[in-house]
Symmetry: C2
């Protein structure tokens, strides 16, 4: 098996594994399956869960696509012609309970016929209500996932996530961040192995950390006002994804599969003009965490 086949195979297994664990924790919801083919080569498996017991809407998508390198990718990577191969797993989970956080993960591998290859990945958390204790556990697990790569990796990837998941027009971060790395080139076999190990480590961290947070918060009772705060925070999620997210923009511009790209949209979101939570409330306290540079571990 070639490298790229091995990676795609592992990603496909990761998708299955994560789905099993999410379904087990949800208890009721089941992920639907939709296979799709890319006209130019390859395809994917979109798996979507709606109206579960804990998950209101969740997508866990796998894809492995290849063929002639499309013009926008040639431009983006500053190359000319050739073939490409790209595979990855993308996840966004919108829970019902406002005390269970939204989570997002993406792990990906990209290869060109000229021999160059890159890895990217990350996980970030978007709670409506921030529990400091959960933030610490989440970031510690992100740190652990990066440990094998190198001692500075967590700090670097955490900063990248802080910078990336930022909404300039709101002057706030989307959530409490996590880790994010992109276009890390595998120049030689050693670097390839290191990046592949890192990416597997990140992928494997998703299910345990998120099912832990689901289990911990799923039985907390919530009020209508707390649900409204969640819907309000989801509007910021929409704003970030549609205005700034590079993957979303790139996907929409290059005629990607709209429903796969926009599976990240929340089931319901609310915009209230000039809304600012009252000082001292839990909403207000949570809002204070939506900024860069917080030391979680």
């Amino acid at each position: 098996m070639s490298r790229k086949e091995k990676i795609a195979e592992w990603f496909r297994g990761l998708q299955t594994d994560i789905i099993q664990k999410l379904e087990a924790e949800d208890g009721i919801g089941k992920f639907g399956s939709e296979n799709w083919e890319r006209p130019g080569g390859g395809g994917g498996l979109t798996r979507l869960l709606v109206d579960g017991n804990i998950i209101e809407k969740g997508g866990v998508n796998f894809s492995a696509v290849f063929g002639e390198t499309p013009a926008p990718i040639q431009k983006s990577f500053k190359i000319e012609g050739g073939d490409f191969f790209a595979t990855g797993v993308s996840i966004v989970i919108h829970p019902i309970n406002p005390f269970v956080p939204i989570i997002h993960m993406n792990v990906r591998y990209f290869e060109l016929s000229n021999g160059q290859s890159w890895f990217g990945g990350g996980i970030d958390l978007t709670p409506a209500f921030v529990f400091e204790e959960d933030g610490k556990i989440f970031h510690q697990s992100m740190k652990n996932a990066c440990e094998a790569y190198d001692a500075q990796a967590y700090r670097k990837f955490k900063e990248t996530a802080d910078d990336y998941f930022f909404i300039p027009h709101r002057n706030e971060t989307r959530g409490i961040g996590g880790i994010f790395y992109d276009r890390m080139e595998a120049n030689d076999d050693a670097q390839f192995e290191k990046l592949w190990t890192l990416t597997q480590s990140v992928g494997s961290t998703f299910a345990p950390i998120y099912t832990h947070l689901m289990a911990k918060r799923k039985n907390m009772p919530w009020t209508e006002a707390e649900k409204q705060w969640q819907l309000h925070r989801r509007s910021r999620y929409v704003e970030f994804n549609l205005v700034y997210d590079a993957g979303t923009k790139f996907g929409l511009e290059t005629n990607g599969r709209t429903e796969s790209i926009l599976m990240s949209m929340p089931p319901l979101a609310r915009w209230e003009s000039n809304y600012v939570p009252n000082e001292g409330t839990e909403e207000w306290k949570s809002q204070q965490f939506f900024r860069k540079g917080i030391e979680w571990v």
Copy 2:
């Protein structure tokens, strides 16, 4: 009074007039007022109505700003340095009843210290449920508003609106269009007068046509399923505004007043993956109208 003062004065009066008529038709809702100042010069009056009898969320904003021409405007207009003046009225109304359409209007005037000046404007309608009869009345009133300008104006501005209010990733228009014109330069006094007359005509058309549609549809009873379709269509409104709308993008990129720019966001919107209405339903029939090139008059 200079031209620009005269125009700003008329726009300010238009805002007041439209608000009186919208409040009269709504019957319960009252627009709040917020004056704001622009650090570099000028300011505006934001007027927002929330939770009225017919209007769920509506903004009618006036602004008149001036000063040193900001770098992004210099770039956009391919000029260097100098002072600018810009004034306009912007409206977005999100009604409660799914049978009352969303409406958007913008009229604006832009002037540079080198003597160049431009007008822009337009009104477009976004019904969740399309009544052909209402579409005809609406487009006829748009045609009437353009009549004095020239015989071809409606056709041209209607095509521009079809092209502008299009969502490529959904392959559908935002609603049933209307008219839109932008950066029409007033090269001489005659052209200035023609454009100013057109812009006043468009501005004056807003209140009668929209209060007519409000009155006609406000008492139609609606079901929860019909409300859900409205929330679904609002998600497309969000996607258009955040991904494609030039004014929104420009505003967010140039550090505009976020709350004024995003007053266009609906109070609540719903994303359901892979949602397609069943053939033959009213939702499905309405969907058939969300395309370019429909002849309404």
